[in-house]
Symmetry: C2
Subunit: 483 residues, 2 copies
Amino acid sequence: MRDEAPEGAPRLGDMPPEEFRRYAHEAVDWVADFLANVETYPVFPSVRPGDVTSRIPPTPPASPEPMDALLDDFRSIIVPGMNHWNHPAFFGYFSVSASGPGIIGELLASALNVNAMVWRSAPAAAELEDVATDWLRQLLGLPDGFEGVINDTASSSTMYALAAAREATWPEAHAKGLFGLAPGRVYASEHAHSSVEKGVLTIGLGQDGYRTIETDETFAMNPVALENAIADDVRAGLRPCAIVATLGTTSTASMDPIGPIVEIARRHDVWLHVDGAYGGPAAMLPEAAPWFAGWEQADSIVVNPHKWLFTPIDCSVLFCRRPDVLRQAFSIVPEYLRSSEQAESRSLMDYGVSLGRRFRALKLWFVMRYFGQEGLVERLRDHLSMASSFADAVRAEDGWEVMAPVDLGLVTFRCTLGETPEDQDRINHEIMDAVNASGQAFLIHTVLNGRVVLRLAIGNINTTQSHVMATWALLKKIANDFR
Amino acid sequence: MRDEAPEGAPRLGDMPPEEFRRYAHEAVDWVADFLANVETYPVFPSVRPGDVTSRIPPTPPASPEPMDALLDDFRSIIVPGMNHWNHPAFFGYFSVSASGPGIIGELLASALNVNAMVWRSAPAAAELEDVATDWLRQLLGLPDGFEGVINDTASSSTMYALAAAREATWPEAHAKGLFGLAPGRVYASEHAHSSVEKGVLTIGLGQDGYRTIETDETFAMNPVALENAIADDVRAGLRPCAIVATLGTTSTASMDPIGPIVEIARRHDVWLHVDGAYGGPAAMLPEAAPWFAGWEQADSIVVNPHKWLFTPIDCSVLFCRRPDVLRQAFSIVPEYLRSSEQAESRSLMDYGVSLGRRFRALKLWFVMRYFGQEGLVERLRDHLSMASSFADAVRAEDGWEVMAPVDLGLVTFRCTLGETPEDQDRINHEIMDAVNASGQAFLIHTVLNGRVVLRLAIGNINTTQSHVMATWALLKKIANDFR
């Protein structure tokens, strides 16, 4: 250990282990208090852009600072400037959870600090990534043959899937690039996540390489429109490259009709990627089975345990039924990464862009074991039930309406006060801002059919009916000021 | 809190806070003991592919399991199957460090569990990413105007930089894709990291879109060869898209001559990306300044604090001097991510593929503050000095040779025993395997000029001269068996 440096000499090495022990315990106590008292924090802080920055020196310190100062600043500058995603009244974006077992898994993984790019670089981490993703596959009811790999985000997972689709569509592009080839297209509903378009741009197909398909009155993809779009494009000399079906869109959690989409994908021999980043975990519920029937025929599926499976950010699982194609898109093995175990083990680096790979499997494994299949199912079911009750309450109230079917944990709704549509939009924006300014709950908006709509996304593990109903009471109270 | 569920009813919600407190303290004690006693662990475990998996049930548990069981399995199955990157005698790949302040930063960030894709989604995390990357910019001596953003890995950072280069080279590709355009190329030395070729494939240029440039006897890019390659390609109708210069290659830590490369890039109006993922932190040392002179004229630079700046994995900083082009390559703002603060704050989601964004800035901020500029410089300098002493010892020993200049913390060397080159290769492989099997140190090999070479990468924060010299003694002892 470096503790016994001679007096006056610069001490090298890390923080001494006993100092680490003391401050890490202090940090754990802060976290435990935070988790116990999170409801005493405003969900959204009262800060404006630049407020946090103005409290931090513009230049780095020349000399070491004591850990006490760092923790003090964390508590006094960082925490009060934070939007609290781990608050049970956080209903914005998709509500997520850092559960206790997940946080403990992250702590242990950060100390091991391994990089599981190949088996040899971190044997237990590489194998646990196989095991944990296979467990998740089984929980989701997906058949053998889907290989899972953990990425940072669904945006990366979807981009990797699209790169595999490109490899399948234009095998010659692996050598020559897309230059000189007949152009092609990726199809997704007009409610698909922006990451699909970003993935299309990233892999070089351009904006013209992305065609959105109209949705029905439930905001789900219209398969007839998909079929027509593909047929039109084929007639025009375009190559269909991939279809992305979404199970749980971001605006309304709508579910694209997977059965008819699978048939279209097979008929045109097009890669089918399913974006179940948010909605995927619902496949664990028997009552949700109809929505997922057929997804086992997709070529790739992304499901994010860091969204609706209580795992701290980041943890996005890409399942692929044609892993050979995915690997072909990405596999390059330089000499310094060759090792004798490569025939007997997967090299996780071959499944995407990122070579470095945190030990994310540990937290996912802890979450699946601590809650168990039954515990996970109960919690998801509870979220569906809360969403359903909230929607019922909105429907029953004069001056409010629910804007989309409530299939999962997300309710889209709006206040109908206001003379003109523009007034209504403004009032809904103002209601949202007032809720967020209260610090008691956090919501975001979206736009449906050209009109501003509010979203209440239920997904935090500690959210209860009382949080949902208190938010509903707050919404109604604020709206009354506009009457 | 959910603790008081009626008896018999399923308990919903998270692990109760007091249970979290107990087990998180237990985990901290394990981590503190691990850090204090890491040298009692074998660096590389005595496991074969499948050993870890065989000790884990093949199916997930139906019912919840107690946290005790999880921690027991972590200690008895996972840890003994791990290659210990945080061991001071881990000299493989690039040696990295999860320092104490970094681990504590990760712990706090995982509990907050925020997603800093836009300012509104996590104000303090978004602003701290601005501040922390700007502090790092200053430490590295880069001028104002380089905007930093934190990605997971250098592979992602480099791919994003190449996507920006594509945007600058073929602005029309943003709409139309690369289809029908005249092909183009990215240039990097034959010792550049495999992530450059992977990035080229990912963005759709194909293998033909990547041209490697020969290196000189120090394994650094030959700028005359670069100039000739570009001139040849231009004559042949190819568009030069980007040059990637590496400061610290993976095989030998060679430093491409940045001054002449900058001139070539400017003359041909080609995007210059600098891969300083490993070597970049050395820019903090005044004595290393000559290697970096001119890098401030690059268009983009990647530096990984998770490699040689004591920050737990993952933390890769992409600096870009033309952020408008980078944003143009990636910016798509859907309605549900619009907010009124976008004019006053950066939206970090616009700088790459990943939308989700962990609060990685916290650990980087903690590391820079806890060690301070002077502390970081002293530690890097100590690593350089150890590498230099090890190389001197190898050079002084009969039957051994150093294979490349030792500029940073990496020494490439080999044992020269053996009748034929093939014998020598086999013997070096066997020496490496024996070192790794001993559990006392961990090395990997590379190939230089067709011959197997060993690498000793010094970068762990707790590595001392005694670890290095003990490994040298072990190497010599093992080699004696081949005499």
